[in-house]
Structure formats: structure tokens, C-alpha cells
């Protein structure tokens, strides 16, 4: 266990320890494809930025936003905030200014560290504030002037904003204990070493980045920092895995699917890849099998966990994946987590065939949502035994010998003709189909208020063949009330900034125009 009082204390101790080891001055700590830093250089950058922030007046327990593209500079800035025991609030550098504004107004940070060339994208109200260049970097600190609270929460390591179902982003409060517990588990659960090179694919505002940035530091290993442009170019990612000998990869399935489809993986040697982790969505069987054939040296793991818990269950994926492999298995609870199931109003330990909402307790469970006591009370409950549980909103079933199976989001449950239907169950069934590359299933209401199930899909074969085989596949597996009413073949499904399927965009997709006939065949 990491017994440090704060994430910052751990980072400081980590650098002190690395400084005593051979390789501190020569081993690469990070590389952003333009620049690289040894551990010594990274430490010097961190100290340099931390000193400047202190001069500006940033103090321990302050909150500071970080709105930057990923680079050696911004990584050092993030570590400088952490090292100074400042609570960092990463903001998507590509987010529209409206969203940036609502996050800033909600979190009231003391200031924001932002890329020089991104300041134009800030809402006007935050542009005319005192500015401080951070020397030798492309970063600038804007003093936002929000009063910092007197009774500041000293437990906070960082705040991650996720999309709320209401459209208002919600700030998930992550404590030092939460972060350290996750880092400790992730560092020790897989067989990493100092010789590893980690890929950092997820942007800072996405919790997958916590793994790349801090677990690589734990081992004194190198990390290759991919920015937003890089991660949209699967060809480049494939090339860079070879160029840097990347051995640890962690991303959403979406990025993996794009790599498999457009990355020309056959052109490169990816023998260095030893560990491939994915989380956030289901990885469709076709991509899993294909990637497995290119990345045969790697061990594969499916990780599960909402931002409120970080990774809380994990499953090792067999190297020999057959057509019967169940892509929705999320495995067993991590050592820091306990999983129970809320079934018929009772919180029950995992028992075979038990089905219901997954509840998680343990050291990584978030303190709650910023400025939202009502939602915190709704999602984080304390049972009679005094245990605090996070209600994931995910429906799971316990499978004998295989652990947990993800069934879908409870809030994606619909009622159609009196039947309760889990849209994700339909979607997962489609993602098991070998002619479907990816699928996204949504429900819409037509003019008569009738609920329609719409299956959007990308195919590997011709559209006619795919649609026919997918229908056969679904009809063999699901009762007829769950069959999609409409099938829409897309060249690609729309994605969110964290590279997950954008369901919101699908609900307003032009193919759903009510004037168009059902079972439309659409090529977009």
C-alpha cells in the first residue's frame, strides 16, 4: 500500500527515490513526439513550474484548472500542481467555450494553466484577468480571482468532469487516498517494470490518463504522450508503437477499433507490446480477434469502472479468442474494491446468477460530486452495516466461474410494448456478430409516441449481407420485442471527446428524420 498523505507527497518521494537510481539522468521519462525529457529533466521542469506557481501565489489545497494539449510541458505542469498539493481540474482543450465556462464557474478554481494558443477559446469573461507566462514553456497562468474557500477540502487530488445526463457536466471529486489506492493496484496487478514504455493515449480530462501518467512514474518507466491530433491518426499511432517500442497500451475500444481498421498494422512490428488494457466500452469481437492476430505477444485485459470509482473490476482476456467469447465479461473486483449487487431492493454479495445494479465500495470510491449534494446522496449510499457504496447505474449478472457480466446501463432501459428492454443488451448481441464492426443501439419515439429501437452499425462486409446476417444473429438470440425496428448502416459511428460512442449525436442523426421510411439504408 502507498501510505503517503497526498498524491503530491508520493510524487515528490518518487522523484527523490528515482534520483538515487542509475539511469535518472539518462532514462527517458516522457516523449511527446517533438520533445523528450529524462527523469532528471522532467524533475527540473516540475520544480521550475512549481516555483513560478508559488511566486504567483498558488498554494497547497488551491484548485487550479489545466486546459492544455498533451505535451512534455503540460505533463510537467500537471505534476507541478500535484507536487504542490494543488487540486488539478483538467479541462478538455477541444471543448466548446460554453462547456469550459460552465466547468470554471462550477469549480471556481484560483486560476487556470492554459496553452498560450488556447486562450482565445476561453469565454470572454475569463480573458481580461491577470496573466502570468510560465517561462520556458508554452503555458500561461490566468488568475481567475475566485475566492478560495476558507474550509477548503484538503483531501482533493483532482476533479474530473463527466457528462451529466442533464447536460450539465458534473465534477467527480477524487481524493488523494482514491488516487493512491488506484495507482497502487494498477502498478502491481500487472507485470510492469522500469523497462516498460507506456503509451498515454487518453487526454488528461479522462480518468484513463491517471494510469499512464502515474503508473509509469511508479515504475520509473517512460511514457509516450499522444496529443489530440495524434490519437485521431491511427496510422501514426501504429508507427509510433514500433518507433518507441511501446509495451503498455491503455485506451478505449474505439481507438483500438480505429487502429485495427485504418492503422495498417501489418506494416509495423509490434512485438514490444506486452500489456494491452481497454476500458470504457465493449470491444467488439471482430476487432478483438483481428488485433489479437497482430499483437500476439500481448496479454489483454478488459477493465471496468466509472469515473466515480476508477477501475474496480478487471478481466483477463484469453489469447485464443473464439467466436463464443463473451465480450461483455468484466471479471472480478480489484483488490481495492468490493462489489455487491442491488437486487429487488436488497444489497447482496455476489452469488451465481444474481442480477441487478452493481454497487462498489472501497478505497477508490469518490467523495462525491462538487456542489451537488443531492446527486451525491442519490448515487453514494451508506447501508445499514455502515458501508458506503457507489451505485454504478450498471446492470450486471454473476456468471459462475467467470465473474461479472456487464448487461448495460440502467438508464438505457426502455419499455416497449410493456416489455422492459436493456438497449445495451441488444447492442452487445450485435457486437458479438462477426459481420458487425461496431454497433450502437438507441430508442426513439415516432410521431405516434411509439418506441422504436434503432440499430446503427458499421460493417465489415457489404451492407446487405451485414444487415441480413445481423438480423439472423439477433433473431436467434433475442426475443422478438427486442429486435431493432430500424437498421442504419453508417461508415462510422460519431464519437465523443473521450472517444466513446456519442449517443446524443445519434438521437439527432439525419437518418432518423421521420419523413424517411423505416429500415433506411444510409451511407454517411
Amino acid at each position: 500500500m502507498l501510505s503517503h498523505k497526498s498524491l503530491g507527497q508520493w510524487v515528490r518521494a518518487r522523484f527523490d527515490d528515482l534520483a538515487t537510481q542509475p539511469g535518472f539522468t539518462t532514462n527517458q521519462a516522457c516523449n511527446d513526439l517533438s520533445n523528450n525529457r529524462t527523469h532528471l529533466e522532467l524533475k527540473q521542469d516540475v520544480d521550475h513550474i512549481q516555483t513560478q506557481l508559488a511566486k504567483i501565489g498558488v498554494r497547497a489545497y488551491d484548485r487550479v484548472s489545466l486546459c492544455t494539449t498533451k505535451s512534455c510541458d503540460s505533463y510537467a505542469a500537471l505534476l507541478a500542481l500535484v507536487s504542490a498539493d494543488v487540486c488539478y481540474i483538467p479541462i478538455d482543450s477541444l471543448a466548446p467555450s460554453f462547456r469550459v465556462g460552465s466547468i470554471i464557474r462550477d469549480s471556481r478554481p484560483k486560476g487556470i494553466l492554459i496553452d498560450l494558443d488556447l486562450t482565445d477559446s476561453l469565454p470572454n469573461e475569463f480573458k481580461n484577468v491577470p496573466q502570468h507566462r510560465i517561462h520556458n514553456t508554452e503555458l500561461i497562468y490566468l488568475d481567475l480571482g475566485f475566492e478560495q474557500l476558507a474550509d477548503v477540502n484538503k483531501e482533493l487530488a483532482y476533479i474530473l468532469y463527466t457528462s451529466g445526463s442533464t447536460g450539465q457536466p458534473k465534477g467527480v471529486l477524487i481524493s488523494h487516498a482514491n488516487a493512491l489506492s488506484f495507482i497502487n493496484w494498477a502498478a502491481l496487478n500487472f507485470e510492469f517494470s522500469q523497462a516498460d514504455t507506456f503509451a498515454s493515449v487518453a487526454p488528461y480530462h479522462f480518468d484513463l490518463s491517471v494510469f499512464d501518467l502515474f503508473v509509469s512514474l511508479y515504475w520509473g518507466a517512460g511514457v509516450v504522450l499522444f496529443n489530440d491530433q495524434h490519437i485521431r491518426n491511427p496510422l501514426l499511432l501504429a508507427q509510433q508503437i514500433e518507433a518507441h517500442g511501446i509495451s503498455v497500451w491503455y485506451s478505449t475500444p474505439t481507438i483500438l477499433v480505429l487502429m485495427e481498421r485504418y492503422g495498417k498494422l501489418g506494416k509495423y512490428t509490434h512485438a514490444s507490446l506486452r500489456t494491452v488494457l481497454y476500458a470504457g466500452e465493449i470491444l467488439p469481437l471482430t476487432s478483438l480477434k483481428s488485433l489479437g492476430s497482430y499483437w500476439g505477444n500481448a496479454s489483454w485485459y478488459n477493465l471496468y469502472g466509472p469515473t466515480e470509482t476508477n477501475v474496480c473490476t478487471w478481466a483477463k482476456v484469453s489469447k485464443q479468442v473464439t467466436d463464443n467469447f463473451d465480450v461483455s465479461l468484466i471479471g472480478q473486483p480489484c483488490s481495492h474494491s468490493t462489489a455487491h449487487i442491488l437486487s429487488k431492493g436488497n444489497i447482496e454479495p455476489l452469488g451465481v446468477d444474481l442480477e441487478g445494479e452493481l454497487l462498489i465500495s472501497g478505497d477508490t470510491v469518490s467523495l462525491g460530486y462538487l456542489n451537488n449534494k443531492a446527486l451525491t446522496a442519490e448515487k453514494f449510499i451508506t447501508c445499514e452495516a455502515g458501508i458506503r457504496w457507489y451505485c454504478t447505474g450498471d446492470q450486471v449478472r454473476v456468471i459462475d466461474g467467470l465473474g461479472l457480466k456487464y448487461l448495460g446501463r440502467l438508464d438505457r432501459m426502455i419499455k416497449k410494448r410493456g416489455y422492459r428492454i436493456e438497449l445495451d443488451e441488444v447492442q452487445t448481441a450485435l457486437e458479438q456478430c462477426t459481420t458487425i464492426r461496431r454497433a450502437a443501439v438507441i430508442a426513439t419515439q415516432d410521431r405516434d409516441q411509439e418506441v422504436n429501437i434503432v440499430a446503427f452499425y458499421e460493417t465489415l462486409t457489404s451492407e446487405d449481407l451485414a444487415s441480413q446476417s445481423a438480423r439472423n444473429h439477433i433473431e436467434r438470440r433475442l426475443p422478438n420485442y427486442m429486435w431493432p425496428d430500424r437498421w442504419v448502416c453508417l461508415k462510422s459511428l460519431p464519437l465523443t471527446s473521450t472517444a466513446k460512442i456519442d449517443y446524443q449525436a445519434l438521437t439527432s442523426h439525419p437518418a432518423l428524420n421521420p419523413s424517411q421510411a423505416p429500415n433506411i439504408k444510409e451511407d454517411t
Binding site: 485521431r232 501514426l236 501504429a238 481498421r261 485504418y262 461508415k491 451511407d523
Partner: protein
């Protein structure tokens, strides 16, 4: 010829709901007509149709943003 072929592909496959005039200097990426994934599809199409291959660093806005720049890139590689 090259521009016509690219234009047809963009309008039929990538942006079928676009109703305006697709001029040679229209900014496909800058004006949001094609997103990052459509860009990959466009690269895939160009490679197959014109028998050329993009290097990873060539998949960028400089080469792909307008019909004119796409044509120039293809000619330079043929």
C-alpha cells in the same frame, strides 16, 4: 478528374446531407464538413482509388483540407 472523383466520394459517402456548393477551395476539415473519422475514410478511398500510400505524418490538414490540396498531394505522389 481527380477533384471530381474526390468530390463525388465526399458528397455521396462522407457528407450526404451537405446541400451547398463544394468549391475547390472549400475547407472540408476546417469548416467541419468531414470529421476525424471521415478523414480516415477519405485517406482509405484515395489510397485505393489512386494507388498511392500516405505516410502517417501526411494524414494531416495540409494535404486533405480542400479539393485543391488533395489533388496536389495525389499528383505529387503519382
Amino acid at each position: 478528374m481527380i477533384k471530381t472523383s474526390i468530390k463525388e466520394f465526399v458528397l455521396s459517402e462522407l457528407a450526404p446531407h451537405f446541400s451547398g456548393e463544394l468549391a475547390d477551395d472549400f475547407s472540408l476539415i476546417g469548416d467541419g464538413l468531414i470529421d476525424s473519422i471521415s478523414t480516415l475514410q477519405l485517406v482509405d478511398f484515395i489510397e485505393k482509388k489512386f494507388g498511392i500510400e500516405f505516410e502517417p505524418h501526411e494524414v494531416d490538414r495540409d494535404n486533405l483540407d480542400t479539393l485543391t490540396s488533395i489533388e496536389a498531394f495525389i499528383i505529387s505522389r503519382q
